[in-house]
Every structure is written in C-alpha cells, then in structure tokens.
C-alpha cells in the first residue's frame, strides 16, 4: 500500500531559503573533499594505461618499476580477484561485477584507450608516475569499432568473446550487441498507414562527458583483519561499498566507505574506479594508498553518456492529434554492456499521449569507455530526436508547435511508451506556465546585421526514482537536533534534509545539524542520483522526525504524569489534551531529558517503489553569426513541475545547471574520436564546456504540482532539466535559419555546412 498525502501550503520552513550548513566550510576552503584526504604513511597510486583502443596484451614486464626506489607495490590484471558474473542494481543503472572488474583493470585484452593494465603505489605521485613509465607492455593491436553501425556489421571486431547477447529473449553469440528490447502497444502499422501526416528522420549524437570539475579519487587501507576502509568522493557510500566488495570478492561488512565531500558527479561518480585498485595496492604495500585521476584519463576512461543513432517516425491525424510513433534507438555502451536503453524507452514518448507506439532499443559495445549515468541517462538523447521530430511534423503540417504540444500532452492515465500509466503529473500545468512566462510573451527582438535570431521550445521528462534511504536523529540538551543521513551531498541536499526535520519539529533549519553518515553510522541509503535524494531521503528524515515526536511524547507523559495519548504536538509545542494551558516547548523539553529517561533518538527509513514523474519545457532564444556559424544563447527559460520546492534556490540551481549542461551538449561538446579510437579532445580546453562568458542568466519558472507520494509534495528535479535544451536549440536553429540539424554537436562547422 503506497501512502499518499494531501497538498498543504502553510509551511514554516519548507519553501524558505536558509544558508546551507556545509556552505561555510565550502566558501573558506575548509571542506574536505576526496582528494584532500591525508593519513599517516600515505603513499600515492597511479595507473599504467593502454595507448590502444583494442589490443591483446602479449606481456607485461613490471620488474623495472618494482625495482625503482620509492615504489611500494605494483599490481596487474593478475592481481584482480576473479569477480563473479552477477548483475546488481545501483539505482541508476546496473553493474555486473565481472565487467566492472574488467573495466577497472584489463585482464588479457584492452577494450578502450586508457584501459588500465597495471597500477603502481609509490612514495609520492611524481615517483609513481615516473615508475609507470618503466612498465613495459607488449600489445597485439586489434581493429577497433567506435560507432554502433560498424559494431553491428557481420565482420566487426568482437570486443568480448564470452558475451551472450539478448535479442528479444534469444541468445546471440559472437556479437557486440548486448541487448535488444522492444515495447509495442496498439496497432502501429495500421495507425501509421492511416495517418494524415507523417515524418521519419534519423538523428545521431556523439558521446559527451559529465564534466564534473573534481577528479575521481580514492584513499584506501587494507588492514590486518582484512577490513578495507575507503575514503572517496562518491554519489553513494553504500552502493560504492557494494561495488568494492563485489569486485574484490569480500563481504560488504569487510568494507567501510566514508564519503568525503564530492565535487560534482551528475551520475558519473556512481561507478567506482580507483577504490578497489587503491585497496589492492594497500594490501600489497601495507600502507594507506591514495589515487587521484588525471583529467585526460577522466575523459578517456570514465563515464561518458552513450552516443546514439535514433530513427523516429511520427503519425498524426488531420486534426493535429498524434496517433502513432515508432522509435529505433541504438546506444553505445562502451566497452561492456549497459547503455541505458531502458530509461530511453521510458522517456521517449512520455510528454505525449499516443495510442499506438513501438520502441526498439539496442545496447551496443564499442571500443570506447564504458558509459556511466549522466543526468537522466538516455533521456536527453531521445528528447533531441522526439522533440525535433515533433517540431518538424508541425512545420510540415502547418501547425503551431506549442498548441500541438498542449493538444497532445500526457496527463493522469496516459500510457508511457513502456506501458506504465501516469498518476498525477504536471505536464499540462508546465505548458500553461510556459505560455504565460515572461519569456514566451516577449518578442525575440531584431537581430543585428550579419546575425539571425530564432526561438525554440522543447519538452523534457525524467521518471525519477524512489528506493532506499535512512536517517537518524538525536536531541541535544540545548534543543537542537543532530541529523545523520545516508545521502552524499552533491548540491545542497543536507540543508533540504534538515528542513524536512525542522518543519515537523517546529524548529529552524539551523536548529537541525545535518551530517552525511558513513556506511557504519547510518542505515543503507541508495545513490544520490535518479533525482531521488530530496524525495526519498527527505521522506526518511520526515519519518525520523515524526518518530522523534512519538519518543518525546513519552517523555512529556512522564513529566506531567499523564497518558501518552493525551499529549499533543503542534508547531514545536507539546500540550495536554485535557488541560490546554499545560504546554512545554521542544527546546525546554530537550533541557529536561536527562531527568526524563535520557537520550532521545529516532530513525527513519524508506524503500519507495515510485517517485512522481518530472516534466519540463524550455524556451531558447539564440542568435547565429552567419559568417562564423557561432551560436549564442541570448535568452533562456526553464519551466518545470518541481512538486514542492523545499529550498527554492537549490531547485532553481538544478534547473539552471541542467539547462547549461544541455546547452553545452547541444552546441559544443562531443567525444571527437580518431579512426583508431583515440579521443582527440580529452582536455577541458579542447572539450570546451560552457563558460560564464557563453551564457545569459537562466530564467526559471517553478511550477508546483505537489506530488501525492511525498509528505510535502516533493518531486525529483535534478535530471529533467538536461532533456529539453538540445531539441530546444535545434528548433531555435530551424527557426533562425530555416535549416534543421539532425546531429550533435550543432557547432559552428555544422551551421556553416547547413548554410552552404
């Protein structure tokens, strides 16, 4: 039975903007991030990496490195425990321990450029890097594949000899196709053939990277009782523990993960990279080992989001009602399976009600880094294809694309492309707010000479997830409350958790001191990802706070010598139901607890099946320089149903940050691969994410349709905003130039090519 809640509006703490508790340490440089970790006797680890994208390892000679002064330990694939082939759900995507282990350290074959073949621990980083150059590896270089079309050809080089592909339930051998899934509803062929208007287009996208500024890192000790302690920057201490234990083939209770401050992740810090290697180097050296990844390796070997090939076909009747849709989606998984075709299928049609739909998705191996979740993994890709196709269908039929989106909007009861029926959602409210926004109701203005302006709109969707979270509370004698919760804080979530507790207890946000717990100080909590953190961990905090009220009612009953059932609690004040004048405030009671039974503590935990869907629409105004092809975003607005905004500043921040990542993806960012599988732009300079100079202020409209599945109506907000920007900009380019681009990035070269 899923609990539901009536919407409320009379909050005291929810909806305010207190300063985040952890902010003071972060603006003064005192906050300790993963890379700042120090331990007595600490030594440094580095990886030796493959220069080839695909090769058999003929031999590895580590003797010179081992003999170098200052070197403590060297490991290779031979030192990796043989992890079992077991699929584990990490909340946002699965991992298989066998593939995950192979990704961290090559066995007999390298599968992507930068694939580690050995790791070295030495007295300091410079010495370790020096020693890494002494490792001699002989390779037998193999042909590589870097896109889905080549990878699926009959004569394609095969990455994993023992991969058994799943083609709609049939086993396939000797293949790069890990999976093929299908969702089909209604009679698509019939509906498409009787449609008054149809459109069919192919879209292609390159891999892009999350681009977090903080490098991956890990510090580990492997001690005498085979206990492994890890300090790291992770999006989830418990899922990191699961992975470390699975890859190292030890029990989870042998691993303690302490999450330090994390400098961005966007999904990319859900998988572990260095943690198991640092632990193995510690075991071999007997010292604590720290590893910090260099930026080139971050691009070449960690979590890009899948590159994609997509074919969308839409059909509509003469009145402008969508009647049929098909989507064929090929995603690059990188060097082992798991390319988010599931989420792509869930998201592709979500903003629309369409009676007849088919989706086919393929998970395809290529000689590139294994993909990792990146903010709504799979959804921005299909949003680019679907929202571009919607606009082009409207252009072809002569329809207004905003009206078309309103007329076909999904609502409560609409069936999603994978068959799920929507509960209460806010797509229609978002479209209404978009049409009333200051941006939509203002003209775009005239372009200066030599430039052209265009406006584009697009919808975006992420389903959001629930899963497991835990929180502990304890009351201090001064009337404040300590909160320990399990979600690593990637963008201000601690303050939102404290606000959940403060609202229940009638305290201020700063009366509640939030701490992110390690894996031995709080209950199991899933990743900070899937837009679940404020929703699910906030929910756990709310339960813990209500449980604390019950504990304290017991104490009040003792104090007044009455029955607990006769104690009331409202706005931070306990009262007697029998004698209205008999009251005691939370803080006063806290000071008396020593005489009323001692410490007052509580816990809260959740395991939430559903979360409440997130819809948004973005409006992009752009200006294109006809001579250079450069596109500037001159005005940008993100409108989104956020349920209830607990701390509106950080909700706005999610919309703004997601929008800008999407803008970068649309206009500039890509893995530019050479023919031999090398990323040619593996630095921030060449990869060229948006800078402050590239952007206007990002306007936000928070639409609040309370989510009945959360006590305050919270919906996940973090991921939806990266979905609309790419098609919004594609649609704006079409509006400006009368030219439509079907591939990302839509950079200056593509614009000039289109203008030829």
């Amino acid at each position: 039975m899923v609990a539901t809640f009536e919407p409320k509006t009379n909050y005291k703490v929810v909806g305010t903007r207190p300063i985040r508790h952890d902010g003071y340490d972060k603006v003064t440089g005192r906050a300790i991030y993963g890379g700042d970790m120090k331990l007595p006797g600490l030594i440094w680890g580095v990886c030796v990496r493959s220069p080839h994208a695909h090769a058999n390892i003929k031999s590895i000679d580590t003797s010179a490195a081992e003999a170098m002064e200052g070197v403590f330990a060297v490991i290779t694939g031979a030192d990796m425990p043989k992890a079992e082939s077991k699929l584990v759900d990490l909340g946002e995507g699965n991992i298989n321990f066998k593939w995950a282990s192979n990704k961290l350290m090559a066995d007999t074959k390298v599968l992507y450029k930068g694939h580690p073949v050995a790791a070295i621990a030495a007295v300091d980083r410079y010495t370790a890097e020096e020693a890494a150059r002494l490792v001699v590896v002989e390779y037998d270089v193999l042909p590589s594949v870097t896109n889905v079309v080549d990878a699926l050809k009959d004569d394609a080089p095969i990455l994993l000899d023992d991969l058994v592909g799943d083609d709609l339930g049939e086993d396939v051998h000797n293949t790069n196709m890990a999976a093929h899934v299908r969702h089909e509803f209604g009679d698509v062929e019939d509906a498409m053939s009787s449609a008054a208007h149809t459109i069919e287009r192919e879209y292609n996208m390159q891999m892009v990277h999350q681009g977090y500024i903080e490098p991956h890192n890990a510090t580990a000790t492997w001690d005498e009782e085979d206990r492994i302690k890890v300090w790291t920057s992770t999006q989830g201490a418990f899922p990191a523990r699961t992975q470390i234990a699975g890859i190292l083939q030890v029990n989870v209770s042998q691993v303690k993960v302490t999450p330090l401050e994390i400098g961005g992740g966007f999904g990319g810090k859900i998988p572990v990279y260095f943690e198991p290697l640092a632990a193995l180097l510690s075991k071999k050296s007997g010292r604590p080992v720290k590893m910090v990844m260099e930026r080139t390796a971050i691009f070449e070997t960690t979590g890009p989001t899948p590159g994609a090939r997509m074919i969308i076909k839409l059909g509509a009747d003469a009145d402008g009602k969508l009647t049929a849709a098909t989507a064929d989606i090929w995603f690059e998984a990188g060097a082992n399976p798991g390319a988010f075709i599931g989420p792509a299928a869930m998201c592709v049609y979500a903003p629309y009600e369409i009676a007849n739909t088919r989706i086919d998705g393929w998970d395809v191996l290529v000689n590139k880094p294994k993909v990792a979740p990146y903010r709504a993994p799979g959804s921005p890709q299909v949003a680019f294809a679907m929202e571009s196709a919607i606009d082009e269908l409207c252009e072809k039929a002569g329809w207004d694309s905003m009206k078309f989106r309103v007329d076909n909007a999904s609502k409560e009861g609409t069936r999603r492309g994978d068959g799920v029926l929507f509960s209460k959602i806010g797509m229609e409210e978002v479209l209404e707010a978009a049409q009333q926004s200051a941006h939509w109701t203002s003209p775009i203005g005239d372009a200066p000479e030599g430039k052209k302006r265009g406006r584009g709109i697009a919808n975006g969707y992420w389903f959001n997830i629930g899963l497991k979270s835990s929180a502990n509370l304890s009351v201090n004698a001064d009337g404040t409350v300590q909160l320990t919760e399990g979600s690593t804080d990637i963008g201000g979530s601690r303050v939102a958790m404290a606000m959940h507790v403060a609202e229940v207890l009638g305290l201020t946000a700063h009366d509640v001191r939030p701490t992110v717990g390690d894996t031995e100080s709080v209950g199991y909590t899933d990743v900070t990802g899937g837009s679940r953190t404020t929703y699910a961990t906030g929910y756990a905090c709310w339960i813990a706070a209500n449980n604390l009220v019950e504990v304290l009612k017991d104490r009040v009953a003792v104090l007044w010598d009455i029955n607990k059932d006769d104690v009331d609690f409202n706005d931070g004040v306990f009262s007697s139901k029998a004698e209205a004048e008999k009251t005691i405030g939370f803080k006063e009671l806290a000071g008396k607890l020593d005489d009323l039974g001692g410490p007052a503590n509580s816990t809260g935990s959740v395991d939430l099946e559903s979360a409440g869907d997130g819809f948004g629409m973005h409006i992009a105004d752009i200006e294109i320089d006809i001579e250079t092809g450069k596109t500037d975003v001159i005005r940008y607005t993100a409108i989104q149903d956020v349920g209830t905004a607990i701390h509106p500043s950080y909700v706005e921040g999610q919309l703004q940050g997601g929008s800008v990542q999407g803008i970068g993806w649309a206009l500039n960012e890509e893995y530019f691969m050479t023919d031999t599988g090398t990323m040619a732009n593996s630095s921030f300079l060449d990869y060229r994410m948006p800078t402050s100079l590239d952007l206007p202020l990002i306007e936000t409209v928070l639409v609040e349709v309370p989510n009945p599945l959360h006590p305050y109506g919270v919906r996940g907000v973090g991921e939806t905003p990266i979905c609309p920007p790419i098609p919004a900009i594609a649609n704006a380019i079409q509006d400006a130039l009368g030219k439509r681009l079907y591939n990302t990035p839509m950079n200056a070269g593509s614009i000039l090519e289109a203008l030829k």
């Binding site: 903007r17 440089g29 700042d36 120090k38 500024i213």
Partner: protein, 158 residues
C-alpha cells in the same frame, strides 16, 4: 620525497600573511606545494593543465592557475589562497554573497571562483554583468550554469 629526486629549491614566501621557508622539489607545482607541503587543501585540483581554474590563487596580487606555476617560482613573492580570504571578524563579502545567493552546489570550483572574483572586485568595485562573465571565463563550474555565481558577485560589488 624520494632520495633520488632532483634537487630541491630553497623558497621563502609569504602565504596568507604568514612567512614560510620551504625546500621545494624543482618539479613541484605551486598547487602541490600548497596542498602537499603546507597542507592548504582549500586550493583544488581540477585538471592540472590550466583549463578549469579550480586551483586559482594570487601571486603578488595577480591571479594564476597554481597548477601552471612551480613552487620554486614564488620565492620572495606573496601568495594569497582561499584560506586567507576570511578574517577573524568574519567572511569576505563575496563569501557571504555566495552563501546567500546559493552560488555553489558541489563547491569544488568555489575557492577558485572566490579568489578570482576578489581579484576583480579589488580593482573594479562595480563591474557590469558582462565584465564579471568575461573575468570569470577562466573558471569552470559544471553545477550552477553560472547564474547564481554572477548574481553573487554582483551582490558583493558596491
């Protein structure tokens, strides 16, 4: 350092008002000198190639990426880092504005942005939005989309 490392350089430098006398390996960056030798880990590593600005400090009042400067180069110079920005009396107005405007999410780029923004406001107390965006273009932030950072710098300017 290992015994076979290249010769070390005797460096006398003033960091956040305090004089330090150091033996710095010739190859060691100012970033590692601050973080590893002195323990000032507020200055962050992001890319080690001068492209992200997370390691921004000032040397004799000039903004530099400390990953591109050798520790040996600050001999006789004055270095200011994020740890020197607040005083016992309280936060610098920029730090306060970053908190109030929610101008940080993960916070890893924040020390670099604050040091860079202070460099701007020290010389130009009332910069335009465009000037702020131009000045801060050497500092990457992936979380905020820069909106709230720009607003915070505007708030802290007179």
């Amino acid at each position: 350092m290992t015994t076979n490392s290249p010769s070390k350089v005797h460096v006398t430098t003033t960091i956040n008002g305090q004089q330090h006398e150091l033996l710095v390996p010739g190859y060691m960056s100012l970033l590692d000198t601050l973080r590893e030798l002195i323990g000032l880990t507020g200055t962050k590593e992001g890319c080690l190639d001068g492209n992200c600005g997370a390691c921004t400090v000032t040397v004799d009042g000039r903004i530099v990426d400390s990953c591109l400067v050798l520790g040996a180069e600050v001999n006789g110079k004055t270095v200011e880092t994020i740890e020197g920005m607040a005083t016992p009396e309280g936060l610098h107005p920029l730090q306060q504005a970053f908190l109030e405007e929610a101008a940080l999410q993960c916070g890893i780029c924040t020390p670099g942005f604050l040091v860079a923004a202070k460099g701007l406001l020290d010389n130009e107390p009332s910069p335009s939005e465009g000037r702020i965006r131009h000045w801060l273009a050497g500092n990457l932030c992936r979380c905020t989309g820069y909106d709230k950072i720009v607003r915070a710098v505007q708030k802290a300017s007179s």
